[in-house]
C-alpha cells in the first residue's frame, strides 16, 4: 500500500480518537482546558498589546518639531476648553451634593472604576467581543458593565487572571433593558445585540416597545439604561434608534434597530464599573455561590 495513503489513514484515525476523547472527557476537564489555554495565551496578548503601544511611542518620537508644536498648540486649546468645562462640572458637583444633602439622598458610589486598555479584537468577531488588559488580579468580576465616557460598551463575560473578555452591546448574547427618549412616562424596552459577521453593520434590536410610543420628531432618539436591573447605572447611553419604529406583524408591540456610538468601532480604552457588592445574578454565575444556592432548593 502507498505509504502516503497509510499516513492519511493514520491522521484520520488520530482525529477520530481525539474527537471521541474530547466528547467523553468530563466537562470540568474541558473547562479547565479552555481556561488553561486562555491563561496560556494571555501573556502573548499582553505582550502584543504592549508592543503596539511601544511602536506607537516610537512612531510619535519620529514626528518633526513643527508637528509636535502644532499638536501641542491643539492640545493647549483643548486643555483650556476642558479646564473651563471642569470648572462648570465642579460647580455642578457642589450643587449636586448640596441637593443630595437637602434631600438626604445617599451618595452614589456603588461602583469602583477600573480603566483598561483593549488588548485584542478579533476581526472574525469584531462586533461581538473584545479582550481587555485587566483581569481577576485587578478586581474585574463577570457581569460588570463596561463603558466609555457615558456610553455603554458591553459587559464582562469571562474573567481570566490578567485579561477579561467583554461581550459588546452588538453581540447576540448581550441583553439589557432601556428607556427611550421621549417616552413619557418611561416604559421598559428590551435591547438585544444582533451583529452578524464583521462586515455587517453593528446593530442591536429594540423590542417590546409599547404600541403607543412615537419617537420625538426631528431628533435622534437615544436609548438609555434604566438602572433598574441592578447591573448598569441609570442614564448611560446605549445607542440611538436607527430608522423608523415599526409595529410587529402581530401589531402587539413596536420594534426598532439601534446603532451603537461611533466609538465602538475604534475603542482603545474602556472603564469597567465594578459593583461594590455582587448582584444575585453574579452569584448565580459564580460556581461556588451557585452551589450554595442549590442547597436551598
Amino acid at each position: 500500500m502507498d505509504k502516503n495513503r497509510q499516513g492519511a489513514k493514520a491522521s484520520y484515525v488520530a482525529l477520530a480518537v481525539f474527537i471521541a476523547a474530547w466528547v467523553v472527557l468530563p466537562s470540568a476537564f474541558r473547562r479547565f482546558n479552555r481556561e488553561a489555554f486562555a491563561e496560556f495565551q494571555a501573556p502573548a496578548l499582553q505582550l502584543l498589546s504592549k508592543g503596539r503601544d511601544l511602536s506607537r511611542y516610537w512612531e510619535l518620537r519620529s514626528r518633526t518639531d513643527e508637528e509636535l508644536i502644532s499638536a501641542s498648540r491643539d492640545l493647549s486649546r483643548i486643555n483650556a476648553a476642558l479646564e473651563l468645562k471642569l470648572q462648570g462640572t465642579d460647580d455642578m458637583r457642589r450643587e449636586n451634593s448640596r441637593l443630595r444633602e437637602m434631600l438626604r439622598y445617599p451618595t452614589s458610589s456603588e461602583y469602583l472604576t477600573v480603566v483598561a486598555r483593549v488588548v485584542s479584537r478579533d476581526t472574525s468577531s469584531w462586533w461581538q467581543s473584545i479582550i481587555i488588559r485587566k483581569g481577576r488580579n485587578d478586581g474585574i468580576r463577570p457581569g460588570a458593565p463596561v463603558v466609555f465616557g457615558n456610553h455603554v460598551i458591553g459587559r464582562i463575560s469571562v474573567v481570566h487572571q490578567n485579561v477579561s473578555e467583554v461581550d459588546l452591546i452588538t453581540s447576540p448574547t448581550f441583553r439589557c433593558t432601556a428607556f427611550l427618549d421621549g417616552d413619557e412616562p418611561p416604559r421598559i424596552v428590551h435591547v438585544g445585540g444582533m451583529a452578524g459577521n464583521s462586515l455587517s453593520a453593528p446593530r442591536a434590536k429594540i423590542s417590546v416597545i409599547p404600541p403607543g410610543y412615537s419617537p420625538p420628531a426631528g431628533e435622534v432618539t437615544k436609548v438609555i439604561t434604566t438602572g433598574l436591573g441592578g447591573v448598569f447605572p441609570a442614564g448611560l447611553i446605549i445607542g440611538t434608534i436607527e430608522g423608523e419604529v415599526s409595529k410587529t406583524p402581530e401589531a402587539n408591540f413596536k420594534e426598532a434597530f439601534m446603532v451603537p456610538s461611533k466609538e465602538l468601532d475604534r475603542i482603545d480604552e474602556v472603564s469597567v464599573l465594578i459593583p461594590k457588592y455582587p448582584s444575585p445574578g453574579e452569584i448565580l454565575m459564580s460556581p461556588g455561590e451557585f452551589l450554595k444556592l442549590e442547597e436551598f432548593k
Binding site: G230, V231, P280, G281, I283
Partner: protein, 660 residues
C-alpha cells in the same frame, strides 16, 4: 400457502399503491400546528380616550425539552434513592418522573426568585451571602398546572411565572417593582439556558374599575378565533393542532362585541421530536389584532357619576349600592352608565383568585344595577300617572284637586308624606312637591288597566338596548350588554292573578299610582323615559355604539299624546321640582334643568329602607341629555331622592356642562 399469498399481496399493495399516502402520513406525524391567539382590539370612549388597552405581560417560561437531561439525572437519583429505601418493591416510575420534573423546576424557580425579588437583592450592609428562599406555595411549581401542560401542550414551553410585572400580585406591589423585576431578570439571569422571559399582551383597564359593568372583563379560553387558512389548506387541516390559551369576553362589551374584538389567530408549523416536543419552526403566519371599538361613553361624565356614587355612604359609613345613567336625548347614546359596587377588571384579566371572586360576590358587585337591577320607581312614576290622567280626560293641566293628609281607599288610609297635606294642588304643583294624594285620586279614577297601558307605552317593561345582530334571522338576540333585565313588571289585575296574588283591589291601584306595589323597572328604563319626555315622545332606544350623527329612529316611538299646555304643565312641574321643590338642594346655578325625585319603600332583609331616585333632563328649554340615578338604602329610611340621589345627577350634569 393461501396465507402466504395473502400476506405477500397485502404487502405489495401497501408498498406499491399506498406508499405515497403512508409516507405522507408518516410526515404528518412528525409535524404539528401551534395556534397563537391574536391581541384583542382596543376600546375607546366617544372622544377616543382609551377605556380598554392591552398591556405587556412578561412570562417566565421553562423549555422542558432543554431540561430533559437535567430531569433525567434527577429521575435516576430519585430512582436510586427509592431502590435504596426498598429494594424489593417496584417503585412508581411515573411518580418518580413527575417528582424529578417538579424538583428541577422548583430549583430553577428558586434561582429566578433569588434574582428578581427585592428581598433577595443584596444591600450594602450584606456581604456575598445567599439567603434561604421562603417556602411560599405560590412561588413553587403548581403540580396540577404541570400535569395539565404535559397532557395538553407538552410541545410548548411551561409557564413558571405567568405575569412577572403585574402590580398588586404576589410578585410586584407597584408598577415600579414590576419594572425592576423584569429588568433584573433580563440583566442578571443567565441567558441562553432553558429559562426564558417572553412577552405577550394582556387586557388592561387603565381606569381601573371605571365603567367595569359596561366594559366587562375577559377570561381564558382554548377556543381561539379561527384562522381561515387553517380550514382551507388540506395539509394543515390534517395536522395535529395545539393551541395557546387565548382570551374571550366574559361580560359587558368584551362579551357582546367579542366577535369584533377577538381578531384572527396566527399559526406555526413545527417539526416535532419523537417525545413530542417542538423542534424546528417550518412556517408561520402572524395573528391579526381585533378591531377597535368606540363607545358612546364620555370618560369625564362617567368619572363624575362613579366618584359621586361611591361617596354615598349609609349611617355606618358603608358605600350604598346604586346606579346612574346619562344619555343623549335625541340619539339615545349613553354618555355614562355607572353601577356600584363594582369590580376591577384588571384583577380578572389574567387569573381570578377565589378570594377576589368571593369578595365581589358578597358585595353584590357582579350586578349591573343600571340594566339588571329591578326597582320600584317610586314617585318618579307620578309623571306617568299624570299623563295617564290627562290622556284619559280624568284630569286636565289646570284642574285643582284638594289634597289632605291622607286618602281613604277601601278601609285603609293612604298617607301623604306631608303630615298636614298640601291643600289645593294642580299637575304642576303635584310634580314640584310630589303630592301622593293627587296621584291616589287620579290613579283610581284612571283605573289599573289604563295606568298599566300608559306605562307600557313608555316601554318600561321591554328590553331596551340594541340588538347587535339585526340581520340574524334565527332570532338569537345579542344585545349591546349581556343579561339585561327581563323581569320588569307593569302590574294589572291579570298580572296579580297570574302570580297567584289574588284579586286586584283599589289599594293596589293606589300603590301603583305612586310607583310602588308590584312595579319593577330599571334605572336605564327611567333614563330613557326622561329622554322620551324631553322629546315629547314615548320610546327612546339607548345605545352604547355611536350613531355617527345620523338621524335616529327610536323604534316604536309615538308622540306623547298630550296637548301643548298639558306637556308644558308637566315640564314646568319638573322645573319647579328643581327650583323650589324636592330637588332644590341640587339645583345648578346657570344650568336650568328639570327633574323628578322619588323615594320608594322596600324591605331589605326585613328592615324598611328607601330607594332614592331622581330622573330628569337638561337644559330645561332645549333638552340635550337625560339622566336617572338610583341609590339603594340598606339599613334605614335615611336615604331620600333629592338628598341622596340628587348629588350624583348634579355632578353628572356639571361634568356634561363643562364639556358641552
Amino acid at each position: 400457502m393461501v396465507g402466504f399469498v395473502y400476506v405477500t399481496l397485502g404487502l405489495m399493495y401497501r408498498q406499491i399503491f399506498q406508499a405515497s399516502d403512508l409516507t405522507r402520513d408518516a410526515e404528518y406525524q412528525t409535524q404539528r400546528i401551534v395556534i397563537r391567539p391574536p391581541a384583542r382590539g382596543l376600546i375607546f370612549d366617544r372622544n377616543k380616550q382609551p377605556l380598554v388597552e392591552n398591556r405587556v405581560r412578561w412570562r417566565v417560561k421553562a423549555d422542558l425539552m432543554v431540561l430533559q437531561p437535567e430531569i433525567r439525572k434527577e429521575y435516576l437519583k430519585l430512582l436510586s434513592q427509592a431502590k435504596q429505601e426498598n429494594f424489593f418493591d417496584k417503585p412508581d416510575y411515573d411518580k418518580l418522573l413527575e417528582n424529578a420534573r417538579v424538583n428541577i423546576l422548583n430549583r430553577w424557580l428558586s434561582k429566578i426568585w433569588f434574582v428578581v425579588d427585592d428581598n433577595y437583592q443584596l444591600n450594602k450592609t450584606r456581604t456575598n451571602k445567599v439567603y434561604p428562599l421562603r417556602d411560599n406555595p405560590e412561588r413553587r411549581v403548581n403540580i396540577d398546572s404541570l400535569r395539565k401542560h404535559l397532557r395538553e401542550s407538552r410541545a410548548m414551553k411551561f409557564t413558571l411565572i405567568s405575569d412577572l410585572a403585574f402590580p398588586g400580585s404576589t410578585i410586584s406591589k407597584t408598577p415600579e417593582e414590576g419594572d425592576r423585576a423584569i429588568a433584573r431578570f433580563i440583566e442578571q439571569f443567565p441567558s441562553g439556558g432553558p429559562i426564558t422571559l417572553e412577552s405577550d399582551m394582556v387586557r388592561s383597564y387603565p381606569n381601573g374599575s371605571l365603567a367595569a359593568h359596561v366594559l366587562g372583563y375577559v377570561r381564558d379560553t382554548d377556543e381561539l378565533p379561527p384562522n381561515s387558512e387553517e380550514f382551507t389548506d388540506p395539509i394543515l387541516k390534517r395536522l395535529q393542532k395545539l393551541r395557546y390559551t387565548g382570551k374571550k369576553g366574559a361580560a359587558g362589551i368584551e362579551e357582546t362585541m367579542d366577535y369584533a374584538l377577538r381578531g384572527t389567530s396566527g399559526w406555526e408549523l413545527w417539526n416535532k421530536t419523537s417525545t413530542g416536543y417542538n423542534k424546528e419552526l417550518v412556517q408561520s403566519t402572524s395573528p391579526v389584532q381585533g378591531s377597535e371599538v368606540v363607545l358612546t361613553l364620555n370618560l369625564n361624565i362617567q368619572k363624575a357619576a362613579e366618584e359621586t356614587l361611591s361617596n354615598i355612604r349609609d349611617s355606618v359609613g358603608r358605600p350604598l349600592p346604586g346606579a346612574a345613567v346619562m344619555l343623549d336625548v335625541n340619539t339615545g347614546e349613553i354618555l355614562a352608565m355607572a353601577s356600584q359596587p363594582n369590580f376591577n377588571p384588571n384583577r380578572l384579566a389574567d387569573r381570578v383568585t377565589n378570594k377576589y371572586y368571593d369578595e365581589i360576590e358578597s358585595a353584590g358587585g357582579w350586578l349591573n344595577r343600571a340594566t339588571q337591577g329591578l326597582y320600584a320607581p317610586g314617585s318618579t312614576f307620578k309623571i306617568i300617572t299624570a299623563i295617564a290622567g290627562m290622556r284619559n280626560h280624568k284630569v286636565d293641566w289646570d284642574d285643582v284637586l284638594d289634597c289632605g293628609a291622607f286618602y281613604r281607599v277601601g278601609n285603609r288610609n293612604f298617607p301623604e308624606h306631608e303630615p298636614v297635606g298640601f291643600g289645593p294642588v294642580d299637575v304642576e304643583k303635584m310634580l314640584a312637591i310630589s303630592c301622593n294624594v293627587w296621584n291616589y285620586r287620579v290613579g283610581l279614577s284612571v283605573g289599573p288597566e289604563l295606568l298599566a297601558l300608559e306605562a307600557r307605552r313608555f316601554g318600561l317593561d321591554r328590553p331596551l338596548l340594541k340588538n347587535l345582530n339585526p340581520s340574524d334571522t334565527s332570532k338569537t338576540y345579542n344585545y349591546e350588554l349581556p343579561s339585561t333585565a327581563k323581569g320588569m313588571v307593569i302590574p294589572d289585575p291579570d298580572y296579580k292573578a297570574r302570580i297567584g296574588g289574588g284579586a286586584w283591589n283599589q289599594g293596589d291601584t293606589a300603590n301603583t299610582s305612586i310607583g310602588q306595589g308590584f312595579l319593577l323597572t330599571t334605572p336605564l328604563h327611567m333614563a330613557c323615559f326622561a329622554a322620551s319626555l324631553a322629546r315629547g315622545e314615548t320610546i327612546t332606544t339607548p345605545t352604547l355604539i355611536p350613531t355617527g350623527g345620523a338621524k335616529v329612529a327610536h323604534i316604536g316611538s309615538q308622540p306623547i299624546g298630550l296637548n301643548r299646555l298639558q306637556l308644558e304643565a308637566i315640564r314646568s312641574g319638573m322645573y319647579r321640582c328643581v327650583e323650589e321643590g324636592t330637588a332644590k338642594s341640587v339645583r345648578i346655578p346657570g344650568l336650568p334643568y328639570v327633574a323628578k325625585t322619588g323615594t320608594a319603600e322596600y324591605f331589605k332583609t326585613g328592615v324598611k329602607a328607601h330607594l332614592a331616585w331622581i330622573i330628569g333632563y337638561a337644559p330645561a328649554d332645549r333638552p340635550v341629555v337625560a339622566f336617572a340615578v338610583l341609590v339603594e338604602g340598606q339599613l334605614d329610611t335615611s336615604t331620600w331622592g333629592g338628598k341622596t340621589a340628587g348629588p350624583v345627577a348634579q355632578e353628572m350634569l356639571k361634568a356634561w356642562a363643562d364639556i358641552r
